[in-house]
Amino acid sequence: MEKISELFANHLTNWGLVWFCLIFWGSIFNAILFNLFNVGGETYLNYLSYLAGLLLGFYAKQKSWGWLG
Protein backbone atom coordinates (compact mmCIF):
# COMPACT_ATOMS: atom_id res chain seq x y z
CA MET A 1 0.00 0.00 0.00
CA GLU A 2 2.86 2.31 0.89
CA LYS A 3 4.56 1.49 -2.41
CA ILE A 4 1.38 2.34 -4.37
CA SER A 5 1.01 5.57 -2.44
CA GLU A 6 4.63 6.48 -3.23
CA LEU A 7 4.20 5.66 -6.92
CA PHE A 8 1.03 7.77 -7.01
CA ALA A 9 2.78 10.70 -5.31
CA ASN A 10 5.74 10.49 -7.70
CA HIS A 11 3.43 10.32 -10.70
CA LEU A 12 1.50 13.39 -9.58
CA THR A 13 4.71 15.29 -8.86
CA ASN A 14 5.93 14.63 -12.40
CA TRP A 15 2.68 14.60 -14.35
CA GLY A 16 0.14 16.44 -12.14
CA LEU A 17 0.35 19.62 -14.20
CA VAL A 18 -0.27 17.70 -17.43
CA TRP A 19 -3.34 15.97 -15.93
CA PHE A 20 -4.59 19.31 -14.62
CA CYS A 21 -4.24 20.98 -18.01
CA LEU A 22 -5.91 18.05 -19.77
CA ILE A 23 -8.98 18.01 -17.52
CA PHE A 24 -9.23 21.57 -16.13
CA TRP A 25 -8.11 23.58 -19.15
CA GLY A 26 -9.62 21.06 -21.58
CA SER A 27 -13.02 21.57 -19.91
CA ILE A 28 -12.59 25.33 -20.06
CA PHE A 29 -11.53 25.35 -23.73
CA ASN A 30 -14.54 23.18 -24.47
CA ALA A 31 -16.89 25.57 -22.65
CA ILE A 32 -15.39 28.58 -24.42
CA LEU A 33 -15.92 26.92 -27.81
CA PHE A 34 -19.50 26.06 -26.88
CA ASN A 35 -20.51 29.31 -25.15
CA LEU A 36 -18.65 32.04 -26.94
CA PHE A 37 -18.49 30.71 -30.49
CA ASN A 38 -21.70 28.73 -30.33
CA VAL A 39 -19.98 25.60 -31.59
CA GLY A 40 -19.37 22.33 -29.84
CA GLY A 41 -21.52 19.39 -29.04
CA GLU A 42 -19.84 17.55 -31.89
CA THR A 43 -17.57 14.88 -30.48
CA TYR A 44 -14.55 15.87 -32.55
CA LEU A 45 -14.68 19.43 -31.14
CA ASN A 46 -14.77 18.03 -27.61
CA TYR A 47 -11.70 15.96 -28.44
CA LEU A 48 -10.04 19.03 -29.91
CA SER A 49 -10.58 21.03 -26.70
CA TYR A 50 -9.13 18.32 -24.50
CA LEU A 51 -6.29 17.76 -26.95
CA ALA A 52 -5.49 21.48 -26.68
CA GLY A 53 -5.51 21.09 -22.88
CA LEU A 54 -3.16 18.12 -23.10
CA LEU A 55 -0.75 19.92 -25.41
CA LEU A 56 -0.83 22.94 -23.11
CA GLY A 57 0.00 20.57 -20.26
CA PHE A 58 3.06 19.14 -22.02
CA TYR A 59 4.23 22.63 -22.93
CA ALA A 60 3.62 23.88 -19.36
CA LYS A 61 5.57 20.92 -17.94
CA GLN A 62 8.49 21.64 -20.25
CA LYS A 63 8.44 25.37 -19.35
CA SER A 64 7.78 24.71 -15.60
CA TRP A 65 4.62 26.85 -15.74
CA GLY A 66 3.31 25.82 -12.34
CA TRP A 67 1.08 28.91 -12.29
CA LEU A 68 -1.29 27.16 -14.73
CA GLY A 69 -2.21 24.73 -11.97
Binding site: L12, F20, F24, S64, G66
Partner: protein
Protein backbone atom coordinates in the same frame (compact mmCIF):
# COMPACT_ATOMS: atom_id res chain seq x y z
CA UNK B 1 14.42 67.60 13.79
CA UNK B 2 16.92 65.07 12.45
CA UNK B 3 17.01 61.41 13.30
CA UNK B 4 19.74 61.90 15.90
CA UNK B 5 17.71 64.68 17.51
CA UNK B 6 14.60 62.53 17.56
CA UNK B 7 16.51 59.70 19.20
CA UNK B 8 17.84 62.07 21.87
CA UNK B 9 14.33 63.42 22.44
CA UNK B 10 12.94 59.92 22.86
CA UNK B 11 15.79 58.94 25.14
CA UNK B 12 14.90 61.83 27.44
CA UNK B 13 11.28 60.68 27.66
CA UNK B 14 11.98 56.98 27.71
CA UNK B 15 14.98 56.22 29.85
CA UNK B 16 14.90 52.48 29.43
CA UNK B 17 15.10 51.42 25.79
CA UNK B 18 16.55 48.00 26.62
CA UNK B 19 15.42 44.82 24.90
CA UNK B 20 13.87 43.66 28.18
CA UNK B 21 11.76 46.81 28.42
CA UNK B 22 10.82 46.44 24.74
CA UNK B 23 9.63 42.88 25.41
CA UNK B 24 7.68 43.97 28.49
CA UNK B 25 5.80 46.59 26.49
CA UNK B 26 5.20 44.16 23.60
CA UNK B 27 3.86 41.46 25.91
CA UNK B 28 0.99 43.69 26.99
CA UNK B 29 -0.42 43.31 23.47
CA UNK B 30 -0.25 39.50 23.28
CA UNK B 31 -2.48 36.62 24.19
CA UNK B 32 -6.01 37.52 23.20
CA UNK B 33 -8.20 35.57 20.76
CA UNK B 34 -8.31 37.52 17.50
CA UNK B 35 -12.03 37.07 16.94
CA UNK B 36 -12.00 39.57 14.05
CA UNK B 37 -9.96 37.12 11.98
CA UNK B 38 -12.34 34.27 12.78
CA UNK B 39 -15.24 36.42 11.53
CA UNK B 40 -13.33 37.46 8.38
CA UNK B 41 -12.10 33.92 7.66
CA UNK B 42 -15.50 32.26 7.92
CA UNK B 43 -17.34 35.31 6.58
CA UNK B 44 -15.40 35.62 3.34
CA UNK B 45 -15.80 31.88 2.72
CA UNK B 46 -19.58 32.11 3.20
CA UNK B 47 -19.67 35.13 0.86
CA UNK B 48 -17.60 33.19 -1.70
CA UNK B 49 -20.06 30.28 -1.51
CA UNK B 50 -22.92 32.78 -1.83
CA UNK B 51 -21.39 34.23 -4.99
CA UNK B 52 -21.11 30.72 -6.46
CA UNK B 53 -24.71 29.99 -5.52
CA UNK B 54 -26.04 33.25 -7.00
CA UNK B 55 -24.11 32.78 -10.25
CA UNK B 56 -25.21 29.16 -10.64
CA UNK B 57 -28.86 30.05 -10.02
CA UNK B 58 -28.65 32.93 -12.48
CA UNK B 59 -29.32 35.74 -9.99
CA UNK B 60 -25.84 37.21 -10.50
CA UNK B 61 -23.91 37.58 -13.74
CA UNK B 62 -20.68 35.66 -14.04
CA UNK B 63 -18.65 38.83 -14.63
CA UNK B 64 -20.03 40.58 -11.53
CA UNK B 65 -19.41 37.33 -9.67
CA UNK B 66 -15.81 37.37 -10.87
CA UNK B 67 -15.23 40.90 -9.49
CA UNK B 68 -16.95 40.11 -6.17
CA UNK B 69 -15.10 36.80 -5.85
CA UNK B 70 -11.75 38.50 -6.43
CA UNK B 71 -12.49 41.08 -3.70
CA UNK B 72 -13.74 38.40 -1.32
CA UNK B 73 -10.75 36.11 -1.99
CA UNK B 74 -8.40 38.99 -1.14
CA UNK B 75 -9.52 38.45 2.48
CA UNK B 76 -8.78 34.71 2.44
CA UNK B 77 -5.12 34.67 3.46
CA UNK B 78 -4.90 36.81 6.60
CA UNK B 79 -7.13 34.59 8.79
CA UNK B 80 -4.93 31.60 7.92
CA UNK B 81 -1.88 33.74 8.68
CA UNK B 82 -3.39 34.58 12.08
CA UNK B 83 -3.95 30.85 12.62
CA UNK B 84 -0.36 30.07 11.62
CA UNK B 85 0.77 32.27 14.52
CA UNK B 86 -1.83 30.95 16.96
CA UNK B 87 -3.78 34.21 17.16
CA UNK B 88 -7.13 32.47 16.71
CA UNK B 89 -6.74 30.56 19.97
CA UNK B 90 -4.74 33.21 21.86
CA UNK B 91 -3.45 31.89 25.14
CA UNK B 92 -6.24 29.27 25.37
CA UNK B 93 -4.58 25.91 24.74
CA UNK B 94 -7.93 24.09 24.49
CA UNK B 95 -8.86 26.24 21.49
CA UNK B 96 -5.73 25.53 19.45
CA UNK B 97 -7.77 23.52 16.95
CA UNK B 98 -9.37 26.80 15.85
CA UNK B 99 -6.11 27.90 14.22
CA UNK B 100 -6.02 25.10 11.63
CA UNK B 101 -9.82 24.74 11.37
CA UNK B 102 -10.60 28.38 10.54
CA UNK B 103 -7.27 28.79 8.74
CA UNK B 104 -8.02 25.94 6.33
CA UNK B 105 -11.64 26.95 5.67
CA UNK B 106 -10.49 30.49 4.99
CA UNK B 107 -7.97 29.25 2.40
CA UNK B 108 -10.48 27.31 0.27
CA UNK B 109 -10.96 30.21 -2.20
CA UNK B 110 -7.16 30.32 -2.58
CA UNK B 111 -7.00 26.51 -2.91
CA UNK B 112 -4.03 26.40 -0.55
CA UNK B 113 -3.09 24.19 2.37
CA UNK B 114 -2.96 25.94 5.75
CA UNK B 115 -0.31 23.53 7.05
CA UNK B 116 2.02 23.98 4.08
CA UNK B 117 1.72 27.76 4.21
CA UNK B 118 2.31 27.62 7.96
CA UNK B 119 5.46 25.51 7.54
CA UNK B 120 6.99 27.82 4.92
CA UNK B 121 5.85 31.00 6.69
CA UNK B 122 7.58 29.96 9.91
CA UNK B 123 10.77 29.46 7.93
CA UNK B 124 10.28 32.93 6.43
CA UNK B 125 10.16 34.39 9.94
CA UNK B 126 13.19 32.44 11.10
CA UNK B 127 15.27 33.32 8.03
CA UNK B 128 13.83 36.58 6.67
CA UNK B 129 15.73 37.80 3.58
CA UNK B 130 18.21 34.91 3.72
CA UNK B 131 18.72 33.86 0.06
CA UNK B 132 19.41 30.25 1.09
CA UNK B 133 16.61 29.74 3.62
CA UNK B 134 13.79 32.29 3.19
CA UNK B 135 10.99 30.75 1.04
CA UNK B 136 9.74 34.27 0.21
CA UNK B 137 13.15 35.47 -0.97
CA UNK B 138 12.49 34.79 -4.66
CA UNK B 139 9.64 37.27 -4.85
CA UNK B 140 10.85 39.82 -2.27
CA UNK B 141 14.30 40.39 -3.71
CA UNK B 142 13.47 41.30 -7.28
CA UNK B 143 13.86 44.54 -9.22
CA UNK B 144 10.19 45.35 -9.92
CA UNK B 145 6.80 44.73 -8.32
CA UNK B 146 5.59 42.85 -11.38
CA UNK B 147 8.40 40.32 -10.92
CA UNK B 148 7.08 39.72 -7.40
CA UNK B 149 3.58 39.32 -8.85
CA UNK B 150 4.82 36.60 -11.20
CA UNK B 151 7.43 34.87 -9.03
CA UNK B 152 5.06 34.36 -6.09
CA UNK B 153 3.18 31.81 -8.21
CA UNK B 154 6.28 29.62 -8.18
CA UNK B 155 5.84 29.43 -4.43
CA UNK B 156 2.19 28.39 -4.41
CA UNK B 157 2.35 25.93 -7.30
CA UNK B 158 5.78 24.37 -6.93
CA UNK B 159 7.09 25.83 -10.17
CA UNK B 160 10.26 27.27 -8.67
CA UNK B 161 13.07 24.70 -8.48
CA UNK B 162 15.07 26.84 -6.03
CA UNK B 163 12.15 26.81 -3.61
CA UNK B 164 11.63 23.06 -4.07
CA UNK B 165 15.27 22.48 -3.11
CA UNK B 166 14.83 24.71 -0.07
CA UNK B 167 11.73 22.78 1.03
CA UNK B 168 13.54 19.44 0.58
CA UNK B 169 16.36 20.69 2.81
CA UNK B 170 13.88 21.75 5.51
CA UNK B 171 12.08 18.38 5.29
CA UNK B 172 15.37 16.57 5.94
CA UNK B 173 16.44 18.71 8.90
CA UNK B 174 13.16 19.63 10.62
CA UNK B 175 10.63 17.00 11.73
CA UNK B 176 7.92 19.59 12.55
CA UNK B 177 8.28 21.09 9.08
CA UNK B 178 8.06 17.61 7.53
CA UNK B 179 4.92 16.79 9.54
CA UNK B 180 3.21 20.02 8.46
CA UNK B 181 4.09 19.38 4.81
CA UNK B 182 2.68 15.82 5.03
CA UNK B 183 -0.52 17.02 6.71
CA UNK B 184 -0.89 19.80 4.17
CA UNK B 185 -0.33 17.55 1.16
CA UNK B 186 -3.70 15.89 1.82
CA UNK B 187 -5.44 19.26 1.42
CA UNK B 188 -3.34 20.17 -1.62
CA UNK B 189 -4.42 16.92 -3.29
CA UNK B 190 -8.05 17.63 -2.39
CA UNK B 191 -7.80 21.05 -4.05
CA UNK B 192 -6.01 19.56 -7.07
CA UNK B 193 -8.74 17.00 -7.74
CA UNK B 194 -11.54 19.26 -6.48
CA UNK B 195 -10.82 21.98 -9.02
CA UNK B 196 -10.65 19.49 -11.89
CA UNK B 197 -13.97 17.88 -10.91
CA UNK B 198 -15.76 21.22 -10.45
CA UNK B 199 -14.32 22.43 -13.79
CA UNK B 200 -15.88 19.47 -15.62
CA UNK B 201 -19.37 20.45 -14.41
CA UNK B 202 -19.01 24.27 -14.19
CA UNK B 203 -16.01 25.19 -16.38
CA UNK B 204 -16.42 28.94 -16.89
CA UNK B 205 -17.65 29.45 -13.33
CA UNK B 206 -14.59 27.60 -11.99
CA UNK B 207 -12.35 29.74 -14.16
CA UNK B 208 -13.88 33.10 -13.20
CA UNK B 209 -15.00 32.49 -9.62
CA UNK B 210 -12.13 30.36 -8.38
CA UNK B 211 -9.02 30.00 -10.59
CA UNK B 212 -8.61 33.55 -11.88
CA UNK B 213 -9.49 35.32 -8.57
CA UNK B 214 -6.99 33.17 -6.68
CA UNK B 215 -4.27 33.89 -9.23
CA UNK B 216 -4.91 37.65 -9.10
CA UNK B 217 -5.03 37.60 -5.31
CA UNK B 218 -1.83 35.54 -5.08
CA UNK B 219 -0.08 38.25 -7.11
CA UNK B 220 -1.60 40.90 -4.82
CA UNK B 221 -0.30 38.98 -1.79
CA UNK B 222 3.15 38.67 -3.34
CA UNK B 223 3.39 42.42 -3.91
CA UNK B 224 1.64 43.85 -0.85
CA UNK B 225 2.34 41.21 1.81
CA UNK B 226 5.89 40.25 0.83
CA UNK B 227 7.66 42.43 -1.71
CA UNK B 228 6.81 45.89 -0.38
CA UNK B 229 7.61 45.21 3.29
CA UNK B 230 10.86 43.30 2.58
CA UNK B 231 12.12 44.46 -0.79
CA UNK B 232 15.90 44.55 -1.15
CA UNK B 233 16.38 44.65 2.64
CA UNK B 234 19.20 42.82 4.46
CA UNK B 235 18.86 40.23 7.21
CA UNK B 236 18.53 41.22 10.86
CA UNK B 237 15.73 41.55 13.40
CA UNK B 238 15.43 45.33 13.04
CA UNK B 239 16.57 45.60 9.41
CA UNK B 240 14.60 43.00 7.47
CA UNK B 241 11.22 44.79 7.24
CA UNK B 242 10.25 48.40 6.63
CA UNK B 243 7.38 50.82 7.04
CA UNK B 244 6.16 51.91 3.61
CA UNK B 245 3.47 53.97 1.91
CA UNK B 246 1.92 53.67 -1.53
CA UNK B 247 -0.64 56.48 -1.70
CA UNK B 248 -3.52 54.27 -0.59
CA UNK B 249 -4.90 54.21 2.99
CA UNK B 250 -3.42 51.24 4.78
CA UNK B 251 -6.85 49.67 5.33
CA UNK B 252 -7.01 48.93 1.58
CA UNK B 253 -3.61 47.21 1.76
CA UNK B 254 -4.60 44.93 4.62
CA UNK B 255 -2.37 47.17 6.78
CA UNK B 256 0.77 45.65 5.32
CA UNK B 257 2.39 49.09 5.52
CA UNK B 258 2.91 48.33 9.21
CA UNK B 259 4.11 44.75 8.67
CA UNK B 260 7.27 45.64 10.63
CA UNK B 261 5.38 45.18 13.87
CA UNK B 262 4.50 41.62 12.89
CA UNK B 263 8.14 40.74 12.25
CA UNK B 264 9.27 42.25 15.53
CA UNK B 265 6.62 40.44 17.55
CA UNK B 266 4.65 37.83 15.56
CA UNK B 267 2.54 37.00 18.62
CA UNK B 268 0.84 40.40 18.53
CA UNK B 269 -2.51 40.14 16.73
CA UNK B 270 -2.89 41.96 13.41
CA UNK B 271 -5.66 44.21 14.71
CA UNK B 272 -3.58 45.22 17.75
CA UNK B 273 -0.54 46.26 15.74
CA UNK B 274 -1.39 50.00 15.46
CA UNK B 275 -1.62 50.39 19.26
CA UNK B 276 1.52 48.29 19.74
CA UNK B 277 3.43 50.47 17.27
CA UNK B 278 2.35 53.62 19.11
CA UNK B 279 3.68 52.11 22.35
CA UNK B 280 6.88 50.75 20.81
CA UNK B 281 7.68 53.73 18.57
CA UNK B 282 10.61 54.91 20.76
CA UNK B 283 12.19 51.45 20.59
CA UNK B 284 11.66 51.27 16.82
CA UNK B 285 13.35 54.63 16.28
CA UNK B 286 16.19 53.74 18.65
CA UNK B 287 16.84 50.55 16.69
CA UNK B 288 16.82 52.31 13.29
CA UNK B 289 13.95 50.31 11.84
CA UNK B 290 13.52 51.49 8.23
CA UNK B 291 10.78 54.12 8.05
CA UNK B 292 10.23 54.33 11.84
CA UNK B 293 11.44 57.94 12.00
CA UNK B 294 8.49 58.99 9.79
CA UNK B 295 5.85 57.35 11.96
CA UNK B 296 3.01 59.54 13.18
CA UNK B 297 2.26 59.47 16.92
CA UNK B 298 -1.12 57.92 16.22
CA UNK B 299 -1.52 55.16 13.63
CA UNK B 300 -4.85 55.94 11.99
CA UNK B 301 -6.50 54.48 8.91
CA UNK B 302 -4.93 57.28 6.88
CA UNK B 303 -1.61 57.11 5.10
CA UNK B 304 1.29 56.55 7.42
CA UNK B 305 3.05 59.60 6.00
CA UNK B 306 0.26 61.92 7.25
CA UNK B 307 1.51 63.33 10.52
Amino acid sequence: MGLVGMKQEFSKNHNDLSINEERLVARTFMGRIEWEMIVIGLGQFIIWLGIWSMVLTGSLSLWVGFILSTISTAFAYLPSHAGQHGHLSGKHKNLKWLNAFVGQISLIPLAQSHHILKATHMKHHANTNNPERDPDYFHTHVDHWWQAAINVHGQTNGGDKRLQNMVETFVEEDQNFKADIERGTVFSLAFFFGQMIVAIYFPLETLLLWWLPRKLVTSYLGIIFSYEPHKILPQGRYKDTRFWVNGIPRFFNHSMQIHVMHHMYPNICHFDEPKAIEALKPFMIARDIPGAEDLPDKISYKLLSFK
